[in-house]
């Protein structure tokens, strides 16, 4: 009973944190404004780019995951780990890396130029999709790889001994089950794209709904239009999120991705080409950041260190609050409630929270706590996707045993559940910390000069074309984000099986 009360309270807190700000924006905006042609174009572009980003990510992930599932090679395990990096990489850093490779003065154009091939233009719809594929290809590979590794090895043996087609017999049924859910998850992620659209998109042909909301706030301060767009975003996100939740299977932890299935089919060379191409696409921008960032570290302005500290505090606060909310919400209903957060525009949430606190405090003085709160709401759906299966299985395995031993409440969690949850909690905390550390969302609207976070500072440096310092800041941001992820993930693994 007490547990249920805590769960309901947590769900109400989340619902309040979402509904309250949206209502505040609506109230201050005086209701909804009709959507203009530009807004409808933004809506069309949002769906269009999310569709193509998800389609390309999944289609490219299939041959890469298949190659990884059936080949052993030196560094395979490390490559799979590194493939998780783009997901925790701060968006603004990844964009800088992509610019270094695919930008006007990037490596690719430097090679294409002398060959007489026209230069690639990374700005516009193609750039937005390229960046989304960069972020989501690794996620798709990991999800689909898990599907491959779930096929019992005996079935591959049966197929091999019968000389039966492995694709139609084993792979197609698995892909039919896994690929739609991977597509749906990536589609939802791409729907809320802001930082990518802000830096690589924009203009009438590459503006997402989230970017249109930003423009409504920042340039027009048109709250009613922002509210209307927020509702559009909410409907879009909720419906796609519900479909993703219905289609999704298991956690996204990727346990056991180190296993290689023994196979008797496939071409070694083709597999090697796919693995090499994917590695090059994913690692080249990271290497570019490393190479360009090292000298830039010495050019960093002194204001970078307080900004880094502010980002670190936001990340740690977000981890703590997310975990406090996630554990009681680790139920099907709780996970559904958490979708509210990711479905609403982060900018609208932030603005709404500012409007709510405005009568009591100076809004800019609470910019950091509000950024943290928005990050908590954004991280919750991912965290619950990771935690819920483990919480459920811990309850199924030990709930009755605990009850029979008279354990309840905190004692039951401490003795029976937490030891089982250390690993997924560590992973989820690492993910939350890294995402919050690199967030470039609501802070772009309300931060006062000199009080921004590290990603915002980096964005400013890019805007002022101080590229060397921007690369240095990017490297620092990567080090902090990855370090935070590593520390929590590693912490969760220590004695996790004891």
């Amino acid at each position: 009973m007490a547990q249920r009360l805590v769960s309901i309270t947590a769900a109400l807190v989340v619902a309040g944190l979402v509904i309250g700000p949206v209502t505040a924006v609506l109230w201050r905006g005086g209701g909804f404004a009709a959507l203009s042609a530009a807004d409808l174009a933004a809506l069309r572009f949002t769906v269009w780019q999310a569709f193509w980003s998800a389609t390309l990510s999944v289609c490219l992930a299939i041959p890469v995951a298949r190659a990884l599932s059936r080949r052993t090679f030196w560094g395979r395990s490390a490559l799979i780990s590194v493939m998780g990096a783009p997901f925790i990489l701060p968006v603004i850093v990844a964009i800088l890396g992509l610019l270094a490779v695919f930008g006007g003065n990037g490596v690719v154009n430097a090679v294409l130029g002398p060959l007489g091939i026209p230069k690639l233009d990374i700005y516009g719809a193609q750039g937005v999709i390229l960046a989304h594929v960069f972020f989501n290809l690794p996620l798709a590979v990991r999800l689909i790889l898990q599907g491959w590794l779930q096929i019992p090895s005996e079935r591959f043996r049966v197929a091999a001994s019968l000389d039966a087609p492995v694709f139609w017999l084993l792979e197609w049924p698995m892909l039919r089950r896994i690929a739609p859910s991977a597509f749906a998850v990536i589609f939802v992620i791409c729907l809320g794209s802001f930082a990518v659209a802000l830096t690589l998109g924009g203009g009438p042909r590459a503006t997402t709904v989230e970017l249109a909301i930003y423009q409504a706030f920042k340039f027009d301060f048109d709250l009613s239009k922002a509210a209307s767009l927020a509702v559009v975003q909410l409907c879009l996100g909720l419906s796609a999120g519900t479909v993703a939740l219905l289609l999704s299977r298991g956690d996204m932890l990727g346990a056991g991705l180190d296993r290689v299935v023994q196979r008797w089919d496939g071409n070694r060379l083709v597999d090697a080409l796919w693995i090499s191409a994917a590695s090059l696409f994913l690692l080249a921008p990271l290497c570019a950041i490393l190479v360009a960032g090292l000298p830039g570290l010495f050019d960093l302005p002194s204001s970078i260190w307080p900004a880094a500290l502010r980002s670190l505090l936001i990340a740690l606060g977000a981890v703590l609050l997310t975990m406090i909310l996630a554990l009681p919400l680790a139920t099907k209903a709780g996970e559904a409630a958490s979708l509210l957060g990711i479905s609403v525009s982060g900018l609208v949430l932030g603005t709404g929270l500012f409007l709510i606190v405005q009568p009591f405090v100076r809004p800019s003085s609470v910019a950091l706590p509000i950024t943290m709160l928005v990050n908590v709401l954004m991280a919750l759906p991912f965290v619950l996707r990771i935690l819920r299966p483990s919480v459920q299985s811990a309850k199924e395995d030990f709930g009755r045993l605990g009850e029979s031993l008279g354990l309840e409440g905190w004692a039951l969690w401490r003795i029976a559940y937490f030891p089982r949850l250390r690993r997924p909690m560590g992973f989820a905390a690492g993910l939350t910390g890294a995402l919050a550390m690199g967030d470039l969302g609501v802070i772009t609207l309300f931060s006062r000069p000199g009080e921004g976070t590290l990603p915002l500072m980096m964005y400013d440096l890019m805007g002022r074309y101080q590229m060397e310092a921007a690369y240095g800041a990017a490297l620092l941001l990567v080090a902090l984000s990855v370090g935070l992820f590593w520390a929590f993930d590693k912490g969760g693994r220590v004695n996790a099986d004891a």
């Binding site: 019992p152 005996e154 079935r155 043996r157 049966v158 091999a160 001994s161 019968l162 000389d163 039966a164 087609p165 139609w168 017999l169 084993l170 049924p173 023994q262 008797w264």
Partner: protein, 229 residues
């Protein structure tokens, strides 16, 4: 005659050596403690476990380098023998039509085989609609339909109750022998060997012991097996 000439199979860090001969048309039980390498032996014969050294011959012909589908072997695994999204008809017909396009003639043969294993009228069902025993029967039907002289059974009936397991063993051995097959079956239960096997190949201490008649093996086992038996 299936001959393993100074064969060494490797599975990860584990090695199993075998220098034995299995007689054609006979039933041989592979007996040994858990983790001794019984499944490794069958996997090696079927071509799933790499042969590090030595040779494998079937009636004098070297089959060591042949792919699993090219060996004269059909194999029944402990689990996951059937493809869950295919019907019983499709699962069994894979033996004759691996491309999943069985002709009318093949479909008739499948129906006839299903009848022989006691699954008449169940060809349209999916594996999930079958009991454990019925799934074993469907697997057996496919192995029998697959026209290969050597049948390997890696404890396919271990999940069944004692009575049903005995019934399935009798059915498998009866049908396999009627079709002139040589049968090598893994078991950890000496009673299974006593029930159906002509000979026993003991597996322990990283090697396959020379074949002995079942009664001889069970009454006076090599010292490596005394504590196990």
């Amino acid at each position: 005659m299936l001959t393993l000439e100074k064969a060494v199979f490797v599975q990860g860090d584990y090695q199993l050596s075998a220098d034995v001969e299995f007689e054609v048309g006979k039933v041989t039980a592979v007996l040994g403690p858990s983790g001794a390498g019984k499944s490794t032996l069958l996997g090696g014969i079927a071509g799933f476990v790499p042969l590090k050294q030595g040779r494998l011959r079937w009636n004098g012909e070297d089959i060591s380098d042949l792919a699993p589908a090219k060996r004269p072997v059909s194999m029944l695994f402990q689990d996951n023998n059937l493809f869950p999204h295919l019907t019983v008809m499709q699962n069994v017909a894979l033996a004759c039509a691996p491309q999943l396009r069985p002709s009318t003639e093949i479909r008739d043969k499948v129906e006839e085989m299903l009848d022989r294993v006691g699954l008449a009228g169940m060809s349209a069902r999916k594996p999930s609609a079958l009991s454990g025993g019925q799934q074993s029967r469907a697997t057996l039907a496919r192995a029998l339909l697959l026209d290969r002289e050597l049948m390997l059974m890696d404890e396919p009936f271990s999940a069944l109750g004692p009575a049903l397991k005995a019934e399935m063993l009798d059915l498998s051995v009866g049908l396999a022998q009627a079709a002139g097959r040589t049968l090598v079956m893994v078991t950890h239960d000496p009673a299974d060997a006593e029930r159906v096997a002509d000979a026993v190949a003991g597996v322990a201490e990283g090697r396959v012991w020379p074949l002995q008649e079942t009664q001889t093996f069970l009454c006076a086992p090599p010292t490596a097996f005394t504590s196990y038996l």
